[in-house]
Structure formats: C-alpha cells, structure tokens
Amino acid sequence: MAIGQMPSLPVTVLAGFLGAGKTTLLNHFLKTARGRRLGVIVNDFGRINIDVDLIETANERIIQLSGGCVCCRMDGNFASALMELRDRGIKLDHVLVEASGVALPGPIARAVPLIEGFHTAMVITIVDIETISARLTDRFMGDLVGSQCASAQVIIANKSDLIGDTLRKLIIDQLTQSFEKAMILSTTAGQVDASILDLDIAGLNITDTSAWSPPISADALFTSWIWSCTDPIHVERLGNALAETGHGLLRVKGFMQDIRLGPVLLQIVGRHVQIATLNSPLSGNGDQISYNRLICIAEKSVKDLGHWAELEKRFGLVRSL
C-alpha cells in the first residue's frame, strides 16, 4: 500500500466518551483491515475481545494477530507504546491509539509527531447519537465532550438505528453546525470500514464541512483503491478533474511526477486540491517513495466507473487494485 511507503507512519487517535462504541469500532477496523497492517494501542486487551484463533504470539504488552495486526497495551502513556511498536521493527501501515473516555484527543494528536517516525493521520471521535446532545450540555462533562468533538476530523455518530429519522437528521445537522471542520458519519453499530483510515487528513487544516460534500451518511461506506501510472502527468489538471463534484471521491493522496514541477505531493479532500512540490527527497527516505501511485477513497456507493474510465483515458492512469 502506498501508505507503507510514506516517510512516517500515520497514527489515528480514537476518542469518545464511555459507552460511545470505541471498542466495537476498533474491532470492526481489525475485521475490515484487508491487508492493512494495523497497530492498535489500547488501554486494556480484555475489553477488545480479540478472537483467540487470530492470536499468533502474545506477551504481556503485545499481541500479534495473524492478519498482520498488532495490539499493544499502553501502560501509562501512549508514547511509550508507540515507541515500543517502532523499536520492535514490526512493519505496520497505520497505528490506532484508543484514548481513554475522558482524554482530550487534541493533545495526544499534537504529541504524536514528537515521536520520531510518526505523524497524526486524524482524530476520530465516536459519539452515541442517543446521548450526545445530553452529553454536550452535561453540567460536569459538557466541555470535555465538546472538546473531544472539536478536535476531531471525523465524528462518528454511532447507534443511529436507535432513534427515528427526523431526530437523527436533527442531531447530525447540529453536529455539522457545531463542529464545522469535521466529517460527520452515522452508523448503527460501529460498522465503519477500516479504509476510512486512509484519509490521513489531520495535516490538511480543513476549515469547513464543504470539503465533505456530498453529505455522507451510510454504514460501511468506504472503499479505497490505488491508481498508478508510469509517466509524468499534468498533476494540476488531474487534481481539478478529480475534485469535480459527482465523483463521490472523498480523498486522494499520492506522490506524483509532474511534467512541469517534478516530484509533487497531490492531496484532494472533497473539492479542495493541494499540490506541494518536493524540493528534496523526503528526509532521506526518498528512495522508498513510489511515485505516480494515488490512493483514492470514496463512498462505497460510487459505482459509476465511467468517470474513471474517462479520466484514465485522459491521464493515462492505470487502475491497479
């Protein structure tokens, strides 16, 4: 996967108040990892209910799963767990840090890049759609829950089957208004696919929800794939074409060879296109970067590959996965 060749390992912070469904979501990520080697840092193995058949090796702090995933128990601080994962040389594509129910994910997310070899991919905050309004106005915990949501790039409104359509829409609208920079997803039982992790958006400074149009509200809604091409292309034109509405693309990211600029990093979030030139090979790891491979993430409902076929013709891309 392209992410494995990035100069640093993406870390997603998973936050949410007690009972919101963090554990279910973590389990679902592990189940839908599909080739992504996930490292999961948890407070306690007991609560994530790992299927014993999947466990390859285990010690007091680390459990290695047969799918290539690894669970590491954090004793005290997540930083030591991250360093342990790094220093053991376990090859991973993504690390998930499960924050405690009262933790502020913001400081954790800001601390990740202080540890050599990691960057923050995003903060995902999961909330219980039935109780979130009460939580946000709770006399004691309201500001804490608000801060958990405000630090998030993705807010997952869980257990959405427990309330009616009208109420659900109302709450989603409220969340959208209150937390402008976050993508709000609704799901019934933490069933969000692990491909959401490929978003890797924390560094992009998204300031409003227009990045996430059209609105997203379905279970198991992500799909991702990689495109690659062999020759340098006109990256700006490609970017603009991909950002056109109607494709249902949420996120595109990859290193490209531009015909004019040379090596660039292309990033698209919704309709925002960002192209950064790379003057020097990235921190000595340049040789590890595969150019002209784009990771694309879209809503699962995106089936109209006609667009893609058209784009492929125009830009000479080859779909590889």
């Binding site: 009972g19 007991g46 128990r73 004793d75 890049p113 202080l114």
Partner: protein, 530 residues
C-alpha cells in the same frame, strides 16, 4: 490522648500493645514491670497518622532538590530553600558532572513562588555538555537544556507544538509542558523510570522520613500493587526495624470496577499488622496550582481554563457502588469544588444503591470544598482529609493567581468540616510538601501563608482539634481507630516522642516542636540515628 484521659505519666506496654495508661499507681496492679525512663523528660503522644503521602517520595531524592522551601531528605540532610534563580543555578552546578551520558535531574522548582521562570538558556549556563532536566513542583512541566533537548530530538522542534513554547528567537525556551511532551522526552533520555518507581523500593527511605516526623502510620496513596510491589512490601514491612505501619491504596486505571474491587478485597485479606491494604484510590481532577483542578464558577482567578477531568463519572459511580457493597474504602482525590460536587453526586448514587454501611469514603484534598459540601459529606457518611499545608506553601500563589484572596481565605476549611461534623484528617501529600504533622497542625491552627499573610482567621481550628486530626481523627478516617491513634489499652504501642508539649506551647510555636523519634509496637526509633 484518650478523650476520657487526656494526660498520663505512665504507660505500660506488653507484646507491642498498650496494656495500661495512667499514673504509676494505676499501673501497680500489673505486678512486676520493667520500668523505662528514657522518655522521662519527653512528651509522648500517640504516633502521628499521615492520611495522604506517597511512598515513592523516598526515591525522589535521587534527584537534586531545587524548591523554594527548606526540606530534609531521607538521610536527614537539610536542603535549604532556594529563593532566587542564581541559587538554583548554583545548586545545579554543584551537582553537575559534565558527563554527556548521565542526565542531571532536579525536582521541586516552583516558578509560581519564585516569580521567574527557568529557561533552556539558564540551564545551558550550568552545562553545555551534560543533559539537564528540571521538574517543576507542579509536576506538569519539565525544563531542559539544549543538550537534553537535542538528545531527545526536541530541538529544534520537528513541529510546532503548544507544549513546546518558543522564545522571541523562534527557538524553544526549554519548557516541555504536559505529559504528552514530557514523556517522549523522558523516554528518549532514558529517565522515565527515574521519575517514579513502582516496585516498593521507596518504602525504606520513606519510613526514615516518617520517624523524623513522628509518623508511625502513613499511607501510600496511589500504588498499582503489582505482584512485585506486594511481595517487596510484605517482606520489607515484616522486618522489626521497619518503623511504620504502611497503608497503600490501590490505584489501577486498567482494571474494571469489578476487577478493581476484587483486587482490593484480595489485598485486604493479605494485610498484616504493618501493611494494611484494601483501600482504593481514585483521581477525579488535577491540581489547583497546576490550573488543572475543576473549579465551579467563577473559575480561576487569572482566567485559566476550566481544568481537567481524570475520570468519567460513570467509572467513579461504578467503583463507588461496588466498593461499598464489598466493604472496600475509597479515597477520592478532588481538588476543585466542581470535582468535589461530582464525587458527591456519585457517592449519593452509591449510597442509594447499597444498604446502609459504615463506608467512610474519604475525600482527599477537597481543598475548595464549601460548607454545603461538607454537610453533604456528613450526611452521606464520608470523611475528609484536607490539605492544610497548602495554606502555607501555596497560599500566596492562591491569593495572587489561582483563586484570589476571597476564596483563598476559605480553602482547606477545617473549621467548616468540623462544624458540619465530618471526620477530619489533615495532610502533607509528601513529596508535594514536606511531611511533618505538627507543621500541618500549625497550618490548620494559624492559617498563615509563606509570606506571613493570614488566610481566613475565621477558619482556624484549635490546637486540640488539630492534634486530634493528626492522630485519632486520621485513624478514624482510615477505619483504624480501634488499633492506633490514641494511647489506650489494647492499641498498638505507637508513639511520637517530642521535646515539648504541643498543648503547652503557644499555638504559633507548634511548628518548632522537635520530634525525637517514634515508638512502633513498643520499639524505639531514634530520629537522630535512623
């Protein structure tokens, strides 16, 4: 110090317990006794009971002390307080080795009291070759010199981080704020385990500090009680020359409420006469001087943010309810009044869910608790252990920065607690402030800050009330009143040996009374030679 018999000239001890107390005549009926007049010129009090200390403070002295107040280490060495930056840097310089491989670690530096902050540039003057890390007294900030920051890969910072403030020159000033920047730094420098040990190795140096303070029973108020810690503590405390009864409280954030209560129950069953286990510790919010305690409106005097929650109310409620059902006592750290409010609310639910019991859950610190909250504690069957030492050590900072003069005058309101009928203890939180129960009593009696300001004369308590709070009162909060806390037949022969009578000296001189040693189970430990 039994209420019915406040004074006596003789005590009789057999098998480590008091057999009788009174006059020589009162004791005559016991027949042939061996008399011991070593303490004829001393005052014997019940051994002091410290309801809130941390055993690992015994290890903290492996670092260099740089605080504002004078302190004494486990070896009895005095460390004068440092009142300006030059003396801080001089002390660091006296301990440097310029060896790039060993980190010079210091603790106790308090910018709030010193009025200046310590920077990387200051520390570079001490050494530009040896890594130096200085730990703030609040515990939430460290300061590093350039070599240390480079070694930890924090200089220049790889990214902008709010916990790594930059100076006018765009370079880090040297402060690493918050656990999220401190831990990676400490790990990169290989010093994380030197900040705190969890194996029980602090017990011995800690117990020596207790003897000098007249303390015979002390808590270790947050211990993970690993198997290693348990076996070490069982072994260390069983020795005859171990001079205190140790009361660890179990803290383990990884365990479920059921698991926590089950572990506490198991520990309780393994208790001995000198190692009393079974209590639980929970932490609700941060500290007032660190601006992380949760305050009710109007919040912090200097406008700082609302503070932090360290646990969810559901968690606290579950632990309360289940611990109460199993007869396990819970110590709850709350500093801010909002945190106390939350804990009271959780306690109310636990009380409602359980049959009536003598649970005596203890509010630890509860520094801003108000009279209404004390009344609720009383009606719910709780006890309180107030942080009287704070009035002296941070009183001036509370007036100027944290809560302002009006609320500072009501902090650690022992008067209101007693008036509401709440069983009261007072504490030092060693290593946060030095252990010395007579000094703690002095604080509750005089309510004077480090600069000599009286904080709320109306909240003072009497010397007798304060002495009760450091003996039988504290023992009662710990449910040990049948075994310790007073000189009464049947109780352990635990005493503090003093050079003068706290009830005879002027209240302002309480702090000057010298502790000559302690007696534990009838065995004398000399403060001069411990």
């Amino acid at each position: 110090m039994d209420a019915g018999r406040p004074h006596a000239t003789h005590v009789l001890v057999r098998n480590g317990r008091f057999l009788a107390v009174g006059t020589a005549d009162d004791l005559a009926g016991f027949g042939n006794v061996k008399s011991d007049d070593r303490f004829a010129d001393s005052i014997l009090m019940p051994g002091f009971v410290e309801g809130h200390t941390h055993m690992d403070s015994g290890n903290i002295w492996q670092m260099v002390y740089t605080g504002t107040f004078e302190r004494t280490d486990p070896d009895g060495r005095h460390w004068p307080g440092l009142s300006d930056m030059d003396s801080v840097l001089d002390r660091l310089a006296a301990h440097r080795s310029n060896d790039p491989e060993t980190v010079l670690l210091a603790w106790g530096f308090d910018p709030l009291l010193l009025g200046v902050s310590l920077t990387r540039a200051d520390l570079d003057k001490v050494s530009d070759s040896q890594p130096i890390v200085v730990w703030h007294a609040s515990g939430h900030i460290i300061v590093a010199n350039t070599v240390a920051m480079q070694k930890a890969n924090m200089f220049p910072p790889r990214i902008a981080h709010p916990g790594i403030p930059l100076g006018d020159d765009g370079l880090p000033i040297g402060e690493l704020r918050g656990i999220e920047t401190m831990v990676p730094t400490a790990m990169a420098l290989g010093i994380l385990n030197r900040f705190m040990s969890r194996d029980g190795s602090g017990a011995r140096p800690f117990s020596r500090m207790c003897v000098r303070a007249g303390v015979t029973t002390a808590t270790d108020l947050a211990n993970a009680m690993t198997d290693q810690a348990l076996s070490n503590l069982l072994e260390i405390t069983a020795r005859d020359d171990f001079p205190i009864r140790l009361v660890p409280a179990l803290m383990d954030e990884q365990l479920s409420a059921e698991g926590l209560v089950a572990k506490a129950s198991l520990l309780r069953s393994q208790s001995t006469e000198k190692l009393r286990m079974g209590a639980i510790k929970m932490i609700v919010d941060g500290s007032i001087q660190g601006f992380t305690a949760r305050l009710l409106p109007p919040g912090y005097y200097n406008g700082a943010e609302k503070g932090l929650w360290y646990l969810a109310p559901e968690r606290l409620g579950d632990v309360y309810t289940q611990a109460m059902a199993s007869g396990i006592q819970v110590n709850t750290h709350t500093n801010g009044d909002e945190a106390t409010d939350l804990a009271l609310q959780c306690l109310q639910k636990a009380v409602n869910a359980n049959p009536p019991s003598d649970h005596r859950f203890i509010f630890q610190h509860a520094q801003l608790a108000n009279p209404d909250q004390f009344r609720r504690m009383k009606s719910l069957g709780a006890c309180v252990n107030l942080f009287a030492n704070h009035l002296y050590y941070w009183g001036d900072a509370h007036v100027a920065h944290t809560v302002g003069p009006a609320r500072a005058a009501l902090m650690n309101n022992c008067r209101a607690a007693l008036d509401a009928g709440v069983p009261l203890a007072i504490h030092c939180d060693e290593p946060v402030t030095p252990m010395a129960p007579l000094f703690t009593a002095w604080c509750a009696v005089n309510r004077q800050s480090g600069s000599g300001k009286v904080l709320g004369a109306g909240q003072r308590i009497s010397v007798g009330e304060a002495l009760h709070a450091i003996t039988l009162g504290a023992a009662h909060t710990m449910k040990l009143e049948n075994e310790i806390g007073s000189i009464a037949p049947g109780k352990f022969a635990d005493m503090a040996v003093l050079d003068s009578d706290p009830l005879a000296v002027p209240p302002f001189d309480l702090r000057h009374i010298k502790v000559q040693g302690t007696m534990l189970g009838g065995m004398f430990f000399d403060a001069r030679t411990i």
